[in-house]
């Protein structure tokens, strides 16, 4: 059973990691915590739902990854252009308020348009309930796919940040914006790309969990909170940290739910978070910065 518990934790943790990595992209570059990240995931879910209508029944939603990713990327760019851009570097509370306001708007627009009914996409049974057995543990297929996709995206992001010009520009801007700009890095393009990627990741996470997750306006809320916890746990502005944070939270939830009591799972996660922060105030892999 131990192996199964670990598997459960890692598979879910992978998805958490993906959302957290998206969040970290945004925070690392812009110093903004996106409180609406969970709602972007919900948008991804609804987008998947809407587009799935064009797919044959009993197939899988993963073909839709391109349109969903593109759609969310575009959405991220729009949100950035009209809202986020104006609160950059204007202090601590503005982005909080802005993203919370966005969160309210998105949740309730989804409610307004779709109603609060629980919907699901009719995927094939393989993806709904199928699983592979390996070394004595069952690996639900939908969760393996989600984990694999998440892993691919995280690797991609890592490559992107280290090997591409714009990625390096992002890291430079995250490190020290003033210096980066003085070196000729145009902040604007860096910011919008980072935000759009972060948004896109949230949307993709929605698509990845759609085979098992019911779709309704507030579906993203728990994921948003977990993503923020994961990001903080791992250390702000740190992709590897977000990955680590997501996996750790997945494991803590799994271990607590199975070995102790599922009612205590949220408590355990939060307890771990607080304990880590007591000993490492900047997260597991985070660095101290001179901020208020």
């Amino acid at each position: 059973m131990l192996f199964q518990v670990i598997v459960n934790g890692l598979l879910m943790g992978g998805v958490f990691a993906l959302i957290a990595v998206g969040l970290t992209m945004i925070h690392g570059v812009m110093k903004i915590v996106n409180f609406a990240q969970g709602d972007f995931l919900a948008m991804g879910l609804f987008m998947t739902y809407g587009l799935y209508a064009f797919m044959p029944e009993h197939s899988m939603p993963y073909w839709l990854i391109l349109p969903v990713a593109a759609g969310m990327y575009l959405f991220g760019m729009i949100v950035f252009r009209f809202a986020i851009k104006r609160v950059l570097n204007t202090g601590d509370s503005n982005y909080i308020l802005l993203t919370i306001g966005l969160s309210f708007m998105i949740q309730n627009l989804l409610q307004l348009i779709y109603g609060a009914d629980f919907r699901s996409i009719p995927v094939s049974d393989t993806f709904r309930m199928g699983s592979w057995e390996f070394l004595g543990a069952m690996f639900p297929i939908s969760r393996i796919v989600a984990f694999a996709a998440a892993a691919i995206f995280v690797v991609f992001v890592n490559w992107f940040l280290t090997k591409t010009d714009i990625g390096r520009a992002m890291r430079a801007t995250a490190e020290n914006r003033a210096v980066a700009e003085s070196l000729g890095i145009r902040g604007g393009r860096v910011y919008v790309t980072a935000f759009a990627i972060g948004t896109m990741f949230a949307g993709i996470s929605g698509l990845l969990i759609s085979p098992v997750q019911m779709i309704f306006p507030t579906a993203g809320v728990p994921f948003g909170l977990v993503a923020m916890s994961a990001m903080v746990l791992g250390g702000l502005g740190n992709i590897k940290g977000a990955l680590l944070g997501g996996l750790i939270i997945g494991l803590v939830e799994s271990f607590t739910s199975t070995y102790v009591n599922i009612a205590l799972a949220p408590v355990a996660v939060n307890l771990v978070l607080v304990l880590v922060l007591i000993f490492k105030p900047y997260g597991l892999l985070g660095k101290r910065r001179r901020t208020a």
Binding site: N108, G115, A116, S131, T258
Partner: protein, 444 residues
């Protein structure tokens, strides 16, 4: 310079006006202005000169239309539409009031008990209502109690399961359907019946209880524990999960498997059940499932699981084909209309809403008055011998004179067969035989 000053000034004015503007809407309500019916006098019907407008009798239907519980609110809304159609088109409104029509105003309570008093008070301020129907959520219903006490309007909650509603000394609340306290004995009686058919002594079954951590789930769980103890059953797993944080059921199922659970007793909502059932499928865990109500009986379960839903059982206060409903002609008319309009069976929140409305309707018809206090007095007096709509809920239909609780209400067991829930136990309420979930054929 000038422009900025102007903008600032206008903004200030707008802010102040917004704040003061809250004054306006309630007294100039979007609907017709408050009917000036004096409390004691029966409403004088306008002379119906072929198309002359008769003042409608208003019921306030208070339901959760937004938030996590909005599916139940939607069911309530459909129920209200059905009842309104039936009363106005088939029964011709209220004959005892000169044919006045009924108007059922469905108001969103949100799913939050701290918010709910606001729309409730807003609605009660804007119109004169004779009766309040709902809310199905116990926490919200409890906040309504002092408000209906102040406004002196009777409130009938068809589906709120917490018995505290009838214990707070409210003289204006009525619960016609079974509460959790009645659910669990039926659920466990059924378990014995079921296991008997499967050839396993019920006391040898390893029971697993999982429940949503809200008031309803917790109420069910408390009652389950108590009953299990009394009956000497074997409860090996007992955990609640946080509804808001439930993102993955595989750890829970892993734990259930480790505890070797034979029978799963879930008290859960649609999203939770979706995660639970898919995880069970993935981990190859196939216990007997005897649900605690709510989402186990809602159309969304079929929408989610498809034909895999057949064979699942659950307790509830209502199944669309229970004896009381089947044998009531008027109800069957409403039933057919509902199914035609909405394309689905009457689920657990809609049924009780509909018969609550009909109970209030009957009370009004009997006294020929729309005065809330007179209606409340009449509700206390009626029972299933005087009002045959009261035969629809299972058990003996009668409101306690003091608490308004229908102590004779009983729960019923349903099983999903052919994509619909059907009543299977106890025999006096059943509509179909219980099927063996493995073969989908009646037990021999």
């Amino acid at each position: 310079m000038k422009k900025k000053w102007l903008i600032s000034a206008i903004s200030v004015v707008v802010v102040l006006v917004l704040a003061l503007a809250a004054c306006a809407p309630a007294t100039q309500a979007p609907a017709a202005p408050a009917a000036p019916a004096a409390p004691a006098a029966p409403a004088a019907p306008a002379v119906p000169a072929g198309g002359g407008a008769l003042e409608p009798v208003r019921f306030l239907v208070f339901a959760m239309m937004t938030g996590p519980n909005a599916e139940s609110g939607r069911q309530v809304q459909m129920a209200a539409k059905t009842a309104e159609w039936y009363i106005n088109e088939v029964l011709g409104g209220f004959p005892s009031l000169g044919g006045r029509p009924i108007h059922l105003n469905v108001v969103d309570s949100t799913s939050d008990a701290a918010q709910a008093p606001m729309p409730f008070e807003a609605a009660l301020q804007a119109e004169d209502y004779s009766v309040v129907i709902g809310n199905s959520n116990s926490s919200i219903a409890l906040t309504q109690l002092p408000i209906v006490e102040a406004h002196q309007i009777p409130m009938i909650t068809g589906a709120a399961a917490n018995i505290a509603i009838s214990q707070q000394g409210s003289s204006f609340s009525f619960q016609p359907a079974a509460t959790s306290r009645a659910f669990i004995p039926t659920q466990l009686d059924f378990l014995e019946y079921y296991s008997g058919h499967l050839g396993i002594p019920v006391k040898e079954l390893r029971l697993g209880l999982i429940f949503a951590d809200d008031a309803w789930g917790t109420d069910n769980a408390n009652n389950t524990r108590q009953q299990v103890k009394e009956r000497g059953l074997n409860l090996v797993f007992d955990q609640s999960y946080n509804v808001a944080a439930f993102t993955d059921a595989t750890p829970l199922i892993t734990a259930l498997m480790a505890a070797d659970v034979d029978v799963l007793l879930p008290s859960s909502y649609p999203a939770d059940l979706s995660l639970i059932f898919t995880a069970m499928g993935a981990l190859n865990f196939n216990p007997l499932v005897v649900g605690g109500g709510a989402a186990m009986t809602w159309p969304s379960l079929y929408a989610d699981l498809g034909d895999a839903v057949n064979g699942l059982t659950s307790v509830d206060s209502w199944v669309s084909d229970q004896t009381g409903a089947r044998e009531h002609e008027g109800w069957q008319v409403m039933n057919d209309w509902y199914e035609e309009q909405f394309g689905e069976f009457i689920p657990g929140q809609a049924g009780p809403t509909m018969f609550s409305i009909m109970l209030a309707y009957s009370a009004i018809e009997r006294i020929g008055s729309d005065d809330p206090i007179a209606i409340r007095d009449e509700l206390r007096v009626i029972d299933e011998t005087t009002v045959d709509w009261f035969k629809i809920p299972n058990g003996v239909g009668d409101f306690d004179n003091v608490t308004g609780l229908n102590t004779g209400a009983r729960a019923v067991m349903m099983q999903w067969q052919n994509g619909r829930p059907t009543a299977v136990f106890p025999p006096e309420y059943a509509a179909s035989p219980l099927l063996n979930p493995d073969t989908m054929k009646p037990f021999e």
